[in-house]
Amino acid sequence: MIGMIERAPVELLGWFLGLLGSFGVPSWILAVVSAVIIIGTIIGVFLGLFALTSVMERKILARVQNRYGPNRVGFFRWRLCGLFQPVADGIKMITKEDIVPRTADKVVHFLAPVVMMIPALMVLAVIPYGRDMVPADLDAGILYFFAVGAGTEVAVFMAGWGSNNKYSVLGAMRAIAQMISYEIPLVIAAIVAAMIAGSLSPSAIVAAQGGFAFGFVPQWFVLTPWGFTACLVFYIAALAESNRSPFDLPEGESELVAGHLTEYSGFKYATFFMAEYVGMFAVCGMLVTLFLGGWQAPLPFLAVIPSWGWFLGKICFVAVTMVWVRATLPRLRIDHLLAFGWKFLLPMSFAAFFSAACWHYAGRGPAAWILSLAIVGIPYLILGKSFSNRFAVSRRTYQFSE
Protein backbone atom coordinates (compact mmCIF):
# COMPACT_ATOMS: atom_id res chain seq x y z
CA MET A 1 0.00 0.00 0.00
CA ILE A 2 2.74 2.40 0.99
CA GLY A 3 4.81 1.24 -1.94
CA MET A 4 1.84 1.89 -4.21
CA ILE A 5 1.46 5.50 -3.11
CA GLU A 6 5.21 5.95 -3.38
CA ARG A 7 5.38 4.60 -6.92
CA ALA A 8 2.03 6.04 -8.01
CA PRO A 9 3.23 8.82 -10.36
CA VAL A 10 5.76 6.64 -12.14
CA GLU A 11 3.37 3.70 -12.36
CA LEU A 12 0.58 5.90 -13.71
CA LEU A 13 2.81 7.26 -16.42
CA GLY A 14 4.03 3.77 -17.30
CA TRP A 15 0.48 2.42 -17.47
CA PHE A 16 -0.66 5.27 -19.72
CA LEU A 17 2.30 4.83 -22.07
CA GLY A 18 1.67 1.09 -22.15
CA LEU A 19 -1.96 1.78 -23.05
CA LEU A 20 -0.91 4.04 -25.90
CA GLY A 21 1.67 1.53 -27.03
CA SER A 22 -0.94 -1.21 -27.22
CA PHE A 23 -2.79 0.97 -29.73
CA GLY A 24 0.22 0.71 -32.00
CA VAL A 25 1.65 4.17 -31.40
CA PRO A 26 5.30 4.28 -32.56
CA SER A 27 7.93 4.53 -29.86
CA TRP A 28 9.19 7.98 -30.71
CA ILE A 29 5.72 9.44 -30.25
CA LEU A 30 5.56 7.64 -26.90
CA ALA A 31 8.82 9.34 -25.90
CA VAL A 32 7.41 12.73 -26.88
CA VAL A 33 4.15 12.06 -25.00
CA SER A 34 6.06 10.96 -21.91
CA ALA A 35 8.19 14.09 -21.99
CA VAL A 36 5.13 16.30 -22.48
CA ILE A 37 3.31 14.70 -19.55
CA ILE A 38 6.31 15.02 -17.24
CA ILE A 39 6.91 18.63 -18.26
CA GLY A 40 3.23 19.45 -17.88
CA THR A 41 3.12 17.93 -14.40
CA ILE A 42 6.19 19.77 -13.23
CA ILE A 43 5.02 23.10 -14.62
CA GLY A 44 1.56 22.55 -13.18
CA VAL A 45 2.92 21.72 -9.72
CA PHE A 46 5.37 24.59 -9.66
CA LEU A 47 2.94 27.17 -10.96
CA GLY A 48 0.45 25.97 -8.41
CA LEU A 49 3.15 26.34 -5.76
CA PHE A 50 3.85 29.83 -7.12
CA ALA A 51 0.23 30.80 -6.68
CA LEU A 52 0.12 29.38 -3.17
CA THR A 53 3.44 31.02 -2.30
CA SER A 54 2.28 34.47 -3.27
CA VAL A 55 -0.60 34.14 -0.82
CA MET A 56 1.47 32.36 1.81
CA GLU A 57 4.15 35.02 1.67
CA ARG A 58 1.71 37.86 2.09
CA LYS A 59 -0.04 36.15 4.97
CA ILE A 60 3.18 35.21 6.76
CA LEU A 61 4.59 38.70 6.31
CA ALA A 62 1.32 40.06 7.62
CA ARG A 63 1.23 37.83 10.67
CA VAL A 64 4.82 38.69 11.51
CA GLN A 65 3.83 42.33 11.28
CA ASN A 66 0.81 41.77 13.55
CA ARG A 67 -1.87 42.13 10.94
CA TYR A 68 -3.96 39.82 8.80
CA GLY A 69 -2.94 39.19 5.23
CA PRO A 70 -5.36 38.83 2.35
CA ASN A 71 -8.39 37.17 3.88
CA ARG A 72 -11.30 38.13 1.70
CA VAL A 73 -11.01 36.46 -1.67
CA GLY A 74 -12.80 33.14 -1.65
CA PHE A 75 -15.02 31.04 -3.81
CA PHE A 76 -18.69 32.07 -4.22
CA ARG A 77 -19.60 32.98 -0.72
CA TRP A 78 -16.91 31.08 1.22
CA ARG A 79 -14.03 33.23 2.35
CA LEU A 80 -11.51 30.36 2.38
CA CYS A 81 -9.05 32.56 4.30
CA GLY A 82 -8.12 34.46 1.18
CA LEU A 83 -6.58 31.47 -0.52
CA PHE A 84 -8.11 32.43 -3.84
CA GLN A 85 -6.17 35.69 -3.85
CA PRO A 86 -3.82 34.43 -6.58
CA VAL A 87 -6.81 33.97 -8.87
CA ALA A 88 -7.79 37.58 -8.31
CA ASP A 89 -4.19 38.65 -8.80
CA GLY A 90 -3.92 36.67 -12.00
CA ILE A 91 -7.08 38.15 -13.44
CA LYS A 92 -5.88 41.62 -12.51
CA MET A 93 -2.49 41.08 -14.15
CA ILE A 94 -3.99 39.74 -17.34
CA THR A 95 -6.50 42.51 -17.77
CA LYS A 96 -4.07 45.35 -17.06
CA GLU A 97 -3.00 47.61 -19.88
CA ASP A 98 0.41 46.72 -21.25
CA ILE A 99 2.36 49.97 -21.36
CA VAL A 100 5.61 50.08 -23.29
CA PRO A 101 7.60 53.34 -23.18
CA ARG A 102 7.74 55.09 -26.52
CA THR A 103 11.53 55.25 -26.62
CA ALA A 104 12.06 51.77 -25.27
CA ASP A 105 13.73 49.16 -27.39
CA LYS A 106 10.68 47.14 -28.42
CA VAL A 107 12.31 43.81 -29.18
CA VAL A 108 14.57 43.73 -26.14
CA HIS A 109 11.81 45.02 -23.85
CA PHE A 110 9.45 42.32 -25.07
CA LEU A 111 11.93 39.46 -24.94
CA ALA A 112 13.24 40.14 -21.44
CA PRO A 113 10.40 38.41 -19.52
CA VAL A 114 10.56 35.49 -21.96
CA VAL A 115 14.30 35.08 -21.52
CA MET A 116 13.81 35.32 -17.76
CA MET A 117 11.17 32.59 -17.66
CA ILE A 118 13.03 30.07 -19.83
CA PRO A 119 15.99 29.32 -17.53
CA ALA A 120 13.72 29.35 -14.47
CA LEU A 121 11.69 26.51 -15.99
CA MET A 122 14.57 24.66 -17.60
CA VAL A 123 16.46 24.15 -14.36
CA LEU A 124 13.53 22.19 -12.94
CA ALA A 125 14.52 19.27 -15.16
CA VAL A 126 17.44 18.02 -13.09
CA ILE A 127 15.94 18.09 -9.61
CA PRO A 128 15.05 14.68 -8.17
CA TYR A 129 11.48 14.94 -6.93
CA GLY A 130 11.28 11.47 -5.50
CA ARG A 131 12.75 8.02 -5.78
CA ASP A 132 13.56 7.52 -9.51
CA MET A 133 11.69 10.71 -10.33
CA VAL A 134 14.22 12.90 -12.10
CA PRO A 135 12.92 14.25 -15.40
CA ALA A 136 16.43 14.31 -16.88
CA ASP A 137 19.01 12.20 -15.09
CA LEU A 138 22.08 14.04 -16.36
CA ASP A 139 25.57 13.02 -15.38
CA ALA A 140 26.52 16.67 -14.84
CA GLY A 141 23.17 17.79 -13.47
CA ILE A 142 24.61 20.30 -10.98
CA LEU A 143 26.63 21.91 -13.78
CA TYR A 144 23.52 22.06 -15.95
CA PHE A 145 21.62 23.73 -13.11
CA PHE A 146 24.13 26.55 -12.73
CA ALA A 147 24.87 26.90 -16.44
CA VAL A 148 21.22 27.36 -17.34
CA GLY A 149 20.63 29.52 -14.27
CA ALA A 150 23.21 31.96 -15.62
CA GLY A 151 20.72 32.88 -18.32
CA THR A 152 18.72 34.91 -15.81
CA GLU A 153 21.45 37.54 -15.73
CA VAL A 154 21.07 38.19 -19.45
CA ALA A 155 17.32 38.64 -18.94
CA VAL A 156 17.83 41.12 -16.09
CA PHE A 157 20.17 43.17 -18.26
CA MET A 158 17.73 43.10 -21.17
CA ALA A 159 14.93 44.25 -18.89
CA GLY A 160 17.00 47.07 -17.47
CA TRP A 161 18.45 48.38 -20.67
CA GLY A 162 15.41 47.80 -22.85
CA SER A 163 13.31 50.12 -20.72
CA ASN A 164 15.38 53.20 -21.65
CA ASN A 165 15.17 54.48 -18.11
CA LYS A 166 18.00 55.57 -15.82
CA TYR A 167 16.54 53.79 -12.81
CA SER A 168 16.12 50.60 -14.76
CA VAL A 169 19.69 50.63 -16.00
CA LEU A 170 21.02 51.34 -12.52
CA GLY A 171 18.85 48.63 -11.03
CA ALA A 172 19.93 46.16 -13.69
CA MET A 173 23.60 46.93 -13.15
CA ARG A 174 23.24 46.44 -9.42
CA ALA A 175 21.23 43.27 -9.89
CA ILE A 176 23.81 41.80 -12.24
CA ALA A 177 26.70 42.78 -9.96
CA GLN A 178 24.89 41.12 -7.07
CA MET A 179 24.10 37.99 -9.08
CA ILE A 180 27.63 37.57 -10.36
CA SER A 181 29.14 38.16 -6.94
CA TYR A 182 26.94 35.62 -5.21
CA GLU A 183 27.16 33.00 -7.92
CA ILE A 184 30.66 31.98 -6.82
CA PRO A 185 29.82 31.05 -3.22
CA LEU A 186 26.68 29.34 -4.54
CA VAL A 187 28.61 27.13 -6.94
CA ILE A 188 31.41 26.38 -4.47
CA ALA A 189 28.92 25.36 -1.79
CA ALA A 190 27.24 23.06 -4.31
CA ILE A 191 30.62 21.61 -5.28
CA VAL A 192 31.27 20.78 -1.62
CA ALA A 193 28.30 18.42 -1.65
CA ALA A 194 29.23 17.05 -5.07
CA MET A 195 32.80 16.45 -3.95
CA ILE A 196 31.84 14.36 -0.94
CA ALA A 197 29.20 12.45 -2.88
CA GLY A 198 31.70 11.87 -5.67
CA SER A 199 29.38 12.80 -8.53
CA LEU A 200 27.80 15.80 -10.21
CA SER A 201 24.49 14.00 -10.65
CA PRO A 202 21.77 15.14 -8.23
CA SER A 203 20.31 11.66 -7.81
CA ALA A 204 23.76 10.33 -6.88
CA ILE A 205 24.15 13.11 -4.32
CA VAL A 206 20.77 12.23 -2.80
CA ALA A 207 21.73 8.57 -2.71
CA ALA A 208 25.00 9.45 -0.96
CA GLN A 209 22.94 10.91 1.87
CA GLY A 210 21.04 7.69 2.43
CA GLY A 211 21.30 5.38 5.36
CA PHE A 212 21.11 6.12 9.05
CA ALA A 213 24.05 6.38 11.44
CA PHE A 214 23.44 4.66 14.82
CA GLY A 215 20.20 3.42 13.31
CA PHE A 216 18.22 6.63 13.54
CA VAL A 217 20.37 9.68 12.70
CA PRO A 218 20.05 10.58 9.00
CA GLN A 219 23.29 11.06 7.17
CA TRP A 220 22.32 14.29 5.48
CA PHE A 221 25.14 16.67 4.64
CA VAL A 222 23.59 19.49 6.64
CA LEU A 223 24.28 17.58 9.86
CA THR A 224 28.06 17.80 9.39
CA PRO A 225 30.13 20.92 10.18
CA TRP A 226 31.20 21.49 6.59
CA GLY A 227 27.73 20.63 5.31
CA PHE A 228 26.05 23.02 7.72
CA THR A 229 28.36 25.84 6.65
CA ALA A 230 27.97 25.04 2.98
CA CYS A 231 24.18 24.84 3.42
CA LEU A 232 24.07 28.28 5.05
CA VAL A 233 26.37 29.74 2.39
CA PHE A 234 24.19 28.20 -0.31
CA TYR A 235 21.04 29.51 1.37
CA ILE A 236 22.33 33.07 1.64
CA ALA A 237 23.71 33.03 -1.89
CA ALA A 238 20.40 31.62 -3.11
CA LEU A 239 18.57 34.53 -1.46
CA ALA A 240 20.89 36.88 -3.32
CA GLU A 241 20.58 35.07 -6.64
CA SER A 242 16.79 35.28 -6.66
CA ASN A 243 16.89 38.94 -5.55
CA ARG A 244 14.96 38.17 -2.37
CA SER A 245 15.08 40.23 0.73
CA PRO A 246 17.44 41.14 2.36
CA PHE A 247 19.15 41.28 -1.02
CA ASP A 248 16.32 42.88 -2.91
CA LEU A 249 17.98 46.23 -3.52
CA PRO A 250 17.43 45.85 -7.29
CA GLU A 251 13.72 45.80 -6.62
CA GLY A 252 13.65 48.21 -3.75
CA GLU A 253 10.83 50.65 -4.14
CA SER A 254 12.37 53.25 -1.93
CA GLU A 255 15.65 53.14 -3.79
CA LEU A 256 15.08 52.43 -7.41
CA VAL A 257 11.35 52.35 -8.13
CA ALA A 258 11.43 48.61 -8.83
CA GLY A 259 14.75 48.80 -10.67
CA HIS A 260 14.85 46.78 -13.83
CA LEU A 261 11.15 46.04 -13.51
CA THR A 262 10.05 49.68 -13.50
CA GLU A 263 8.63 49.88 -17.00
CA TYR A 264 6.83 46.56 -16.94
CA SER A 265 3.13 46.35 -16.32
CA GLY A 266 0.45 43.74 -16.48
CA PHE A 267 1.28 40.34 -17.77
CA LYS A 268 4.98 41.01 -18.35
CA TYR A 269 5.39 41.95 -14.70
CA ALA A 270 3.48 38.82 -13.77
CA THR A 271 5.91 36.80 -15.90
CA PHE A 272 8.89 38.33 -14.07
CA PHE A 273 7.21 37.68 -10.75
CA MET A 274 6.49 34.09 -11.76
CA ALA A 275 10.06 33.57 -12.98
CA GLU A 276 11.43 34.89 -9.71
CA TYR A 277 9.28 32.60 -7.59
CA VAL A 278 9.83 29.54 -9.77
CA GLY A 279 13.55 30.28 -9.62
CA MET A 280 13.30 30.53 -5.86
CA PHE A 281 11.63 27.13 -5.68
CA ALA A 282 14.15 25.64 -8.07
CA VAL A 283 17.05 26.80 -5.92
CA CYS A 284 15.22 25.60 -2.79
CA GLY A 285 14.89 22.25 -4.54
CA MET A 286 18.62 22.20 -5.23
CA LEU A 287 19.36 23.09 -1.60
CA VAL A 288 17.14 20.25 -0.41
CA THR A 289 18.82 17.87 -2.88
CA LEU A 290 22.37 18.87 -1.97
CA PHE A 291 22.18 19.24 1.78
CA LEU A 292 18.85 18.17 3.23
CA GLY A 293 18.85 14.66 1.86
CA GLY A 294 16.54 15.17 -1.11
CA TRP A 295 13.51 12.93 -0.98
CA GLN A 296 14.69 10.86 1.98
CA ALA A 297 12.85 10.66 5.25
CA PRO A 298 14.65 11.86 8.39
CA LEU A 299 13.83 8.79 10.47
CA PRO A 300 13.50 5.18 9.28
CA PHE A 301 9.91 4.68 10.41
CA LEU A 302 8.81 7.92 8.69
CA ALA A 303 9.38 6.36 5.30
CA VAL A 304 5.65 5.60 5.18
CA ILE A 305 5.21 9.10 3.79
CA PRO A 306 6.10 8.85 0.09
CA SER A 307 9.40 10.26 -1.13
CA TRP A 308 7.83 12.96 -3.26
CA GLY A 309 5.79 14.01 -0.23
CA TRP A 310 8.97 14.47 1.80
CA PHE A 311 10.55 16.45 -1.02
CA LEU A 312 7.54 18.73 -1.29
CA GLY A 313 7.50 19.20 2.46
CA LYS A 314 11.17 20.08 2.58
CA ILE A 315 10.88 22.56 -0.29
CA CYS A 316 7.94 24.24 1.39
CA PHE A 317 9.86 24.40 4.66
CA VAL A 318 12.85 26.10 3.01
CA ALA A 319 10.55 28.48 1.13
CA VAL A 320 8.77 29.42 4.37
CA THR A 321 12.12 30.17 6.00
CA MET A 322 12.95 32.42 3.05
CA VAL A 323 9.72 34.34 3.63
CA TRP A 324 10.51 34.44 7.34
CA VAL A 325 13.92 35.95 6.59
CA ARG A 326 12.24 38.52 4.39
CA ALA A 327 9.93 39.50 7.21
CA THR A 328 12.78 39.80 9.68
CA LEU A 329 15.83 41.39 8.11
CA PRO A 330 16.21 44.89 6.66
CA ARG A 331 17.49 45.44 3.19
CA LEU A 332 21.24 45.55 2.63
CA ARG A 333 22.89 48.51 0.96
CA ILE A 334 24.71 47.72 -2.27
CA ASP A 335 28.22 48.19 -0.92
CA HIS A 336 27.43 46.21 2.21
CA LEU A 337 25.89 43.54 0.04
CA LEU A 338 28.91 43.19 -2.23
CA ALA A 339 31.36 43.38 0.67
CA PHE A 340 29.45 40.65 2.47
CA GLY A 341 29.50 38.44 -0.60
CA TRP A 342 33.15 38.83 -1.45
CA LYS A 343 34.70 39.21 2.00
CA PHE A 344 32.61 36.85 4.08
CA LEU A 345 30.67 34.33 2.02
CA LEU A 346 33.47 33.53 -0.41
CA PRO A 347 36.08 32.77 2.30
CA MET A 348 33.46 30.78 4.24
CA SER A 349 32.65 28.74 1.16
CA PHE A 350 36.35 28.00 0.69
CA ALA A 351 36.58 27.08 4.38
CA ALA A 352 33.67 24.66 3.96
CA PHE A 353 35.35 23.19 0.87
CA PHE A 354 38.66 22.68 2.67
CA SER A 355 36.88 21.36 5.73
CA ALA A 356 34.97 18.79 3.67
CA ALA A 357 38.17 17.62 2.01
CA CYS A 358 39.93 17.26 5.38
CA TRP A 359 36.91 15.43 6.81
CA HIS A 360 37.05 12.96 3.95
CA TYR A 361 40.79 12.36 4.07
CA ALA A 362 40.97 12.18 7.87
CA GLY A 363 38.87 9.04 7.64
CA ARG A 364 35.40 10.37 8.48
CA GLY A 365 35.83 9.36 12.09
CA PRO A 366 35.49 11.39 15.34
CA ALA A 367 38.85 13.11 14.82
CA ALA A 368 37.78 14.10 11.32
CA TRP A 369 34.63 15.69 12.72
CA ILE A 370 36.58 17.78 15.23
CA LEU A 371 39.12 18.79 12.59
CA SER A 372 36.45 19.84 10.11
CA LEU A 373 34.61 21.78 12.81
CA ALA A 374 37.82 23.65 13.62
CA ILE A 375 38.55 24.41 9.96
CA VAL A 376 35.09 25.91 9.57
CA GLY A 377 34.77 27.54 12.98
CA ILE A 378 38.07 29.43 13.20
CA PRO A 379 37.67 31.41 9.92
CA TYR A 380 34.09 32.14 10.93
CA LEU A 381 35.18 33.63 14.25
CA ILE A 382 38.03 35.58 12.68
CA LEU A 383 35.89 36.97 9.86
CA GLY A 384 33.04 37.75 12.19
CA LYS A 385 35.37 39.60 14.51
CA SER A 386 36.87 41.65 11.70
CA PHE A 387 33.44 42.62 10.41
CA SER A 388 32.04 43.58 13.77
CA ASN A 389 35.03 45.78 14.49
CA ARG A 390 34.67 47.56 11.18
CA PHE A 391 31.00 48.33 11.48
CA ALA A 392 30.92 48.83 15.21
CA VAL A 393 28.23 51.12 16.48
CA SER A 394 29.79 53.89 18.53
CA ARG A 395 28.36 56.79 20.41
CA ARG A 396 27.34 59.44 18.00
CA THR A 397 28.92 62.89 18.34
CA TYR A 398 27.28 65.86 16.71
CA GLN A 399 29.93 68.21 15.48
CA PHE A 400 28.06 71.44 15.21
CA SER A 401 25.28 71.23 17.70
CA GLU A 402 27.13 71.14 21.00
Binding site: V108, D139, A140, A147, A150, V154, W161, M173, I176
Partner: protein, 169 residues
Protein backbone atom coordinates in the same frame (compact mmCIF):
# COMPACT_ATOMS: atom_id res chain seq x y z
CA UNK B 1 15.31 10.04 -32.27
CA UNK B 2 17.64 8.95 -35.02
CA UNK B 3 16.32 10.98 -37.88
CA UNK B 4 16.81 14.17 -35.90
CA UNK B 5 20.41 13.27 -35.06
CA UNK B 6 22.20 15.52 -37.52
CA UNK B 7 19.75 18.39 -37.19
CA UNK B 8 20.63 18.75 -33.52
CA UNK B 9 24.03 19.94 -34.69
CA UNK B 10 23.13 21.68 -37.94
CA UNK B 11 20.35 23.90 -36.58
CA UNK B 12 22.29 25.38 -33.64
CA UNK B 13 25.30 25.77 -35.92
CA UNK B 14 23.19 27.72 -38.41
CA UNK B 15 21.87 29.90 -35.58
CA UNK B 16 25.45 30.40 -34.40
CA UNK B 17 26.62 31.59 -37.81
CA UNK B 18 23.63 33.86 -38.30
CA UNK B 19 23.92 35.39 -34.83
CA UNK B 20 27.68 35.93 -35.19
CA UNK B 21 27.18 37.55 -38.59
CA UNK B 22 24.36 39.69 -37.23
CA UNK B 23 26.45 40.84 -34.30
CA UNK B 24 29.14 42.05 -36.69
CA UNK B 25 26.72 43.86 -38.99
CA UNK B 26 24.26 45.44 -36.55
CA UNK B 27 24.32 49.15 -35.96
CA UNK B 28 23.08 49.23 -32.41
CA UNK B 29 25.92 48.16 -30.12
CA UNK B 30 23.74 46.56 -27.48
CA UNK B 31 21.86 44.57 -30.11
CA UNK B 32 25.21 43.38 -31.38
CA UNK B 33 26.21 42.32 -27.88
CA UNK B 34 22.93 40.42 -27.45
CA UNK B 35 23.41 38.66 -30.80
CA UNK B 36 26.87 37.68 -29.63
CA UNK B 37 25.31 36.23 -26.48
CA UNK B 38 22.92 34.26 -28.69
CA UNK B 39 25.89 32.92 -30.63
CA UNK B 40 27.51 31.82 -27.36
CA UNK B 41 24.34 29.96 -26.43
CA UNK B 42 24.18 28.34 -29.86
CA UNK B 43 27.81 27.27 -29.58
CA UNK B 44 27.09 25.69 -26.21
CA UNK B 45 24.20 23.74 -27.76
CA UNK B 46 26.46 22.62 -30.61
CA UNK B 47 28.97 21.29 -28.09
CA UNK B 48 26.24 19.41 -26.24
CA UNK B 49 24.81 18.01 -29.48
CA UNK B 50 28.26 16.77 -30.47
CA UNK B 51 28.48 14.78 -27.25
CA UNK B 52 30.76 17.08 -25.25
CA UNK B 53 28.22 17.91 -22.54
CA UNK B 54 30.75 19.12 -20.00
CA UNK B 55 32.37 21.58 -22.41
CA UNK B 56 28.96 22.75 -23.62
CA UNK B 57 27.65 23.38 -20.11
CA UNK B 58 30.84 25.16 -19.07
CA UNK B 59 30.56 27.26 -22.25
CA UNK B 60 27.06 28.29 -21.17
CA UNK B 61 28.12 28.94 -17.59
CA UNK B 62 31.24 30.94 -18.40
CA UNK B 63 30.47 32.66 -21.68
CA UNK B 64 26.80 33.47 -21.24
CA UNK B 65 26.94 33.97 -17.50
CA UNK B 66 30.17 35.90 -17.19
CA UNK B 67 31.79 36.99 -20.46
CA UNK B 68 28.57 38.31 -22.00
CA UNK B 69 27.88 40.24 -18.80
CA UNK B 70 31.39 41.72 -18.85
CA UNK B 71 30.90 42.82 -22.46
CA UNK B 72 27.58 44.40 -21.59
CA UNK B 73 28.99 46.16 -18.53
CA UNK B 74 31.89 47.48 -20.58
CA UNK B 75 29.58 48.89 -23.24
CA UNK B 76 27.15 50.44 -20.82
CA UNK B 77 29.63 51.92 -18.39
CA UNK B 78 31.79 53.54 -21.06
CA UNK B 79 29.34 54.92 -23.62
CA UNK B 80 26.03 55.77 -22.08
CA UNK B 81 24.72 58.02 -24.81
CA UNK B 82 23.94 57.76 -28.49
CA UNK B 83 24.00 54.01 -28.69
CA UNK B 84 21.77 53.79 -31.72
CA UNK B 85 24.03 55.34 -34.31
CA UNK B 86 27.22 54.75 -32.41
CA UNK B 87 28.82 52.49 -34.96
CA UNK B 88 30.20 53.84 -38.19
CA UNK B 89 30.17 51.17 -40.89
CA UNK B 90 33.55 50.37 -42.32
CA UNK B 91 33.36 51.30 -45.99
CA UNK B 92 36.76 49.94 -47.01
CA UNK B 93 36.59 47.00 -49.37
CA UNK B 94 32.87 46.46 -49.58
CA UNK B 95 30.98 43.20 -49.11
CA UNK B 96 32.60 41.44 -52.08
CA UNK B 97 36.09 41.95 -50.74
CA UNK B 98 34.98 40.81 -47.30
CA UNK B 99 33.42 37.65 -48.71
CA UNK B 100 36.57 36.89 -50.72
CA UNK B 101 38.79 37.36 -47.66
CA UNK B 102 36.49 35.13 -45.61
CA UNK B 103 36.57 32.42 -48.26
CA UNK B 104 40.36 32.47 -48.43
CA UNK B 105 40.57 32.25 -44.64
CA UNK B 106 38.11 29.34 -44.62
CA UNK B 107 40.08 27.39 -47.25
CA UNK B 108 43.38 27.93 -45.46
CA UNK B 109 41.91 26.93 -42.09
CA UNK B 110 40.27 23.80 -43.49
CA UNK B 111 43.53 22.85 -45.12
CA UNK B 112 45.35 23.16 -41.82
CA UNK B 113 42.66 21.27 -39.94
CA UNK B 114 42.49 18.33 -42.30
CA UNK B 115 46.22 18.00 -42.65
CA UNK B 116 46.97 18.09 -38.95
CA UNK B 117 48.01 14.88 -37.16
CA UNK B 118 44.93 15.12 -34.86
CA UNK B 119 42.58 14.59 -37.78
CA UNK B 120 44.25 11.33 -38.72
CA UNK B 121 43.86 9.71 -35.31
CA UNK B 122 40.64 7.76 -34.71
CA UNK B 123 38.22 9.22 -32.20
CA UNK B 124 38.59 7.70 -28.71
CA UNK B 125 35.49 6.15 -27.19
CA UNK B 126 33.57 8.61 -25.00
CA UNK B 127 34.16 8.11 -21.30
CA UNK B 128 31.31 6.85 -19.15
CA UNK B 129 31.57 9.79 -16.73
CA UNK B 130 32.99 12.61 -18.84
CA UNK B 131 33.24 15.14 -16.04
CA UNK B 132 35.19 12.73 -13.87
CA UNK B 133 37.47 11.80 -16.78
CA UNK B 134 38.19 15.45 -17.55
CA UNK B 135 38.87 16.13 -13.90
CA UNK B 136 41.27 13.24 -13.61
CA UNK B 137 43.07 14.23 -16.80
CA UNK B 138 43.42 17.83 -15.60
CA UNK B 139 44.70 16.87 -12.19
CA UNK B 140 47.00 14.06 -13.29
CA UNK B 141 48.38 14.69 -16.75
CA UNK B 142 47.98 18.43 -17.14
CA UNK B 143 48.32 19.68 -13.61
CA UNK B 144 51.17 22.05 -14.53
CA UNK B 145 49.01 23.76 -17.15
CA UNK B 146 46.13 23.96 -14.69
CA UNK B 147 48.24 25.61 -12.01
CA UNK B 148 49.83 27.97 -14.54
CA UNK B 149 46.39 29.07 -15.70
CA UNK B 150 45.37 29.57 -12.09
CA UNK B 151 48.38 31.77 -11.44
CA UNK B 152 47.68 33.73 -14.62
CA UNK B 153 44.05 34.30 -13.60
CA UNK B 154 45.09 35.40 -10.12
CA UNK B 155 47.58 37.85 -11.60
CA UNK B 156 44.92 39.21 -13.96
CA UNK B 157 42.46 39.62 -11.09
CA UNK B 158 44.97 41.42 -8.91
CA UNK B 159 46.01 43.62 -11.83
CA UNK B 160 42.43 44.56 -12.58
CA UNK B 161 41.78 45.37 -8.93
CA UNK B 162 44.94 47.51 -8.78
CA UNK B 163 44.01 49.40 -11.93
CA UNK B 164 40.47 50.00 -10.74
CA UNK B 165 41.46 50.99 -7.21
CA UNK B 166 41.37 54.65 -6.40
CA UNK B 167 44.64 56.34 -5.58
CA UNK B 168 44.80 56.82 -1.85
CA UNK B 169 46.37 60.25 -1.80
Amino acid sequence: MKFLGDWFVVLPAAVLLLAAGASVVMRNLIHAALCLTLSFIALGIVFIALGAEFVGLVQLLVYVGAVAMVIVFAILLTRPDRLEKSRTPFSGFGPAGGAAAGLVALVVLLGFIFSSPLAKKPLPAPASAPAAAIGEALMADHVVALIAIGVLLTAALIGAAVIAMEDKA
